[in-house]
C-alpha cells in the first residue's frame, strides 16, 4: 500500500552552508529496514529534484533506527546569502515526508 512518509516517520532539517541535512526517523523502529530498502539516496534526489541541485548521500544509523540524507547545493547558496523565503531550509523536512513508500 502506498503511504506517505509523513504517516510513518518524522524528520528534522539542518543546514551547513549550501548543504541540507534531513533525518528520517520511523515512529516504529521495526520499519527501519523497510525504509532503508525503499528510501534510497537516488529516490530522495529524484523526489527533491526541484530543490537539490547536487549529490545526495545517505548515512545509515541502525543504532538509533534512523537515516540521514545529506543534500549538496540545496539552499540557493546557503542561509546567509539566499534570496529565498526559507533561507535555512528548515521547512524542507516536510518536503522529504511528502515521499510515498510501499508498506
Amino acid at each position: 500500500m502506498a503511504r506517505k512518509l509523513y504517516e510513518l516517520a518524522h524528520s528534522r532539517a539542518g543546514d551547513k552552508g549550501d548543504v541540507l541535512m534531513l533525518s528520517l526517523i520511523p515512529y516504529e523502529e521495526g520499519i527501519y529496514e523497510a525504509l532503508r530498502e525503499q528510501v534510497t539516496a537516488d529516490r530522495v534526489k529524484h523526489h527533491l529534484n526541484h530543490i537539490v541541485k547536487g549529490e545526495v548521500t545517505r548515512y545509515e544509523m541502525p543504532n538509533i533506527a534512523a537515516l540521514q540524507f545529506v543534500c549538496q547545493g540545496a539552499l540557493l547558496g546557503g542561509v546567509t546569502t539566499s534570496p529565498g523565503m526559507d533561507t535555512h531550509g528548515k521547512t524542507l523536512s516536510y518536503a522529504l515526508l511528502e515521499m510515498e513508500v510501499d508498506l
Binding site: 518524522h10 552552508g17 533525518s23 518536503a95
Partner: protein
C-alpha cells in the same frame, strides 16, 4: 557526577528557561550557546563602529537577569557571547557586577580572531565556496576547541566568555576539567562531544522545533524547559529537564537532535575530536529521562575550520497579499508586472507565491486553489538604493497593479556572506584575559 544545563540554543533564544535552570537545576555549569555563523561578522561590524562593542547584543540583558542567581547557587557560566569581542564582553560583565554589588571573576578566551592572518595570506587559502579576490572580508574566526576553554575554567572564574568555539566544546571543556580526562583520550572526547552536541541547541532537545499536532504532540510548549545532563566519569549521561516545565524529552526528540546539522554521523569533526555517533545508544529511563551511552572518536583533525564573513551587499524584499476568487491569478499577474519593471536592473529577481510555492519551490503543491496568496519579490545588489527599489515597486502595486492587493510590506537588509576555510593549528593561539570584582561594591 557533573551537572551541565543548556540555557540558550541560538543568539535570540528565550531567557526564562535559563533562569529556571540556574535557580532549580542544582547545576555545576550553565552553558549559553548564542553564536550563529553570521552573528560574528555582524558583531565585527559593530566593533568597527565602536571598539567597546562586538559582543552579543543580548549579553547585558542575559547577564543582568542571570548573574545574581548563578552566583547565589554556585553555578559557573560558560558562554560564547563574546562574539567578536570577548574581552569587551568580559568588561561589560564586570561593569554590571560592580553596579549590582556582586563579586565575580570573569575569564575571556581569545585567539579565535584570525583576520590578520587570513588577510595576509589570502591568496593561499581555498575558500569553500569560492570567494572572489575583490570581495571585502569582514571577519575571520577559527573554531577553538575545549582545550582553549579548560585553562579559563582552571582560573576558578565564575564566568567564562569566548568568541568562536565549536559549540560542543563549550560543554566538553567542563567535563575535561571536572573528570580530569586527557584531551588525547579520543574515546572520551567523542562521548563528551555527543553530549555537547545534544545539548547545544537548548530547547530543540526537549520538544522545541518538534511538535506536529495530532502526530507529534508536545504539551506545555509555552513554558518549554531547557535540558540538562548529568554526566558520569565514563562519558555516559542522563539527559533530563526540570519537573514542572513544559516540553518533552523522549527517544524521538533526542534522535532528531542527534542528527541535527550532522554531515557524516561516523565522523563529526570538531577541534577536539572526530566523533562517532554511529555507536551512540539511547534508552528511556522514565518520563523526560534519556540515558546516553556509547559514542566514541578518533584523533582531532590536523587543521581548524575558520569562518570568513564577507560583505555581500544588500537584499531588498517586498510582499503583498491577494485573497478570494482568483487570488493566485492576480498574485501571478502582480509578480509578472514587478519582474518586468525590475528585471533589466538586477542579476536575478526571485518571485515567490507564499501559500503556494515559496518554501518548496513549487514541488508538491496540493491540488485546489489557495484562498489567499502573498506575493514576495526579492533581489540582491551592492547598491543600497537599488535594494530599496524592490520593496517600493511591490508597494506601488497598490495603484499600479492588479485588483485587491493588500498588506504591502517592504524590507531591506545588509547581507553578510559566510565561507569556510581550513587554517593550520599553529596559526591559532588561544589566550586568556582574567578580570575580577573582588569586593562587594555599593
Amino acid at each position: 557526577m557533573l551537572k551541565i544545563g543548556s540555557g540558550a540554543g541560538f543568539s535570540g533564544d528565550r531567557i526564562d528557561p535559563a533562569i529556571e535552570l540556574a535557580e532549580k537545576g542544582k547545576l555545576d555549569y550553565l552553558v549559553l550557546e548564542c553564536l550563529a555563523e553570521r552573528t560574528i561578522a555582524l558583531a565585527q561590524k559593530r566593533k568597527k563602529a565602536d571598539t567597546a562593542f562586538g559582543y552579543d547584543p543580548l549579553l547585558e540583558k542575559r547577564i543582568r537577569s542571570l548573574l545574581p542567581t548563578l552566583l547565589e547557587n554556585n553555578v559557573r557560566l560558560i558562554t560564547n557571547m563574546g562574539a567578536a569581542n570577548p574581552v569587551g564582553g568580559a568588561k561589560k560583565i564586570i561593569e554590571i557586577a560592580e553596579e549590582m554589588g556582586l563579586r565575580v571573576k570573569v575569564a575571556a578566551v581569545i585567539g579565535d580572531d584570525v583576520l590578520p592572518y587570513i588577510l595576509q595570506n589570502r591568496e593561499s587559502f581555498e575558500f569553500n565556496p569560492k570567494l572572489s579576490e575583490s570581495v571585502p572580508i569582514l571577519s575571520a574566526n577559527a573554531y577553538l576547541g575545549a582545550s582553549a576553554i579548560v585553562p579559563a575554567i582552571e582560573t576558578g572564574a565564575d564566568v567564562i566568555i569566548t568568541g568562536r568555539v565549536a559549540d560542543p566544546s563549550l560543554f566538553l571543556a567542563p567535563m575535561i576539567h571536572h573528570f580530569g580526562w586527557s584531551t588525547e583520550d579520543f574515546n572520551l572526547m567523542g562521548k563528551g562531544t555527543v553530549i555537547g552536541h545534544l545539548l547545544e541547541c537548548g530547547g530543540q532537545l526537549t520538544g522545541g522545533f518538534f511538535a506536529d499536532p495530532g502526530k507529534k504532540d508536545v504539551s506545555g510548549l509555552s513554558h518549554l524547559g531547557f535540558p540538562l545532563a548529568e554526566v558520569q566519569p565514563d562519558g555516559s549521561a542522563l539527559l533530563t529537564k526540570l519537573p514542572g516545565t513544559g516540553g518533552a524529552l523522549t527517544l524521538r526528540t533526542v534522535k532528531e537532535q542527534l542528527l541535527y546539522e550532522v554531515m557524516d554521523p561516523s565522523s563529526y569533526v570538531t577541534p577536539d575530536v572526530v566523533a562517532d555517533f554511529t555507536t551512540v545508544s539511547l534508552k528511556e529511563d522514565g518520563d523526560d529521562r534519556i540515558l546516553v551511552t556509547g559514542g566514541g572518536g578518533k584523533e582531532w583533525p590536523s587543521e581548524l575550520k575558520a569562518s570568513i564573513g564577507y560583505d555581500a551587499g544588500f537584499i531588498g524584499e517586498g510582499e503583498i497579499t491577494y485573497a478570494g476568487e482568483n487570488a493566485i491569478g492576480r498574485a501571478e499577474l502582480a509578480g509578472v508586472i514587478v519582474q518586468e519593471r525590475l528585471q533589466n536592473h538586477f542579476e536575478e529577481i526571485t518571485v515567490d507565491y507564499i501559500g503556494v510555492t515559496s518554501a518548496h519551490r513549487g514541488s508538491f503543491a496540493y491540488k485546489g486553489r489557495p484562498y489567499e496568496v502573498r506575493l514576495r519579490v526579492a533581489g540582491k545588489t551592492y547598491e543600497r538604493e537599488k535594494a530599496n527599489w524592490i520593496g517600493e515597486e511591490v508597494e506601488a502595486l497598490y495603484t499600479n497593479g492588479p485588483a485587491g492587493g493588500g498588506g504591502a510590506r517592504k524590507y531591506f537588509n545588509e547581507v553578510v556572506g559566510i565561507v569556510s576555510t581550513m587554517v593550520p593549528r599553529e596559526s591559532v593561539k588561544a589566550e586568556l584575559k582574567v578580570m575580577e570584582v573582588k569586593t562587594n561594591g555599593a
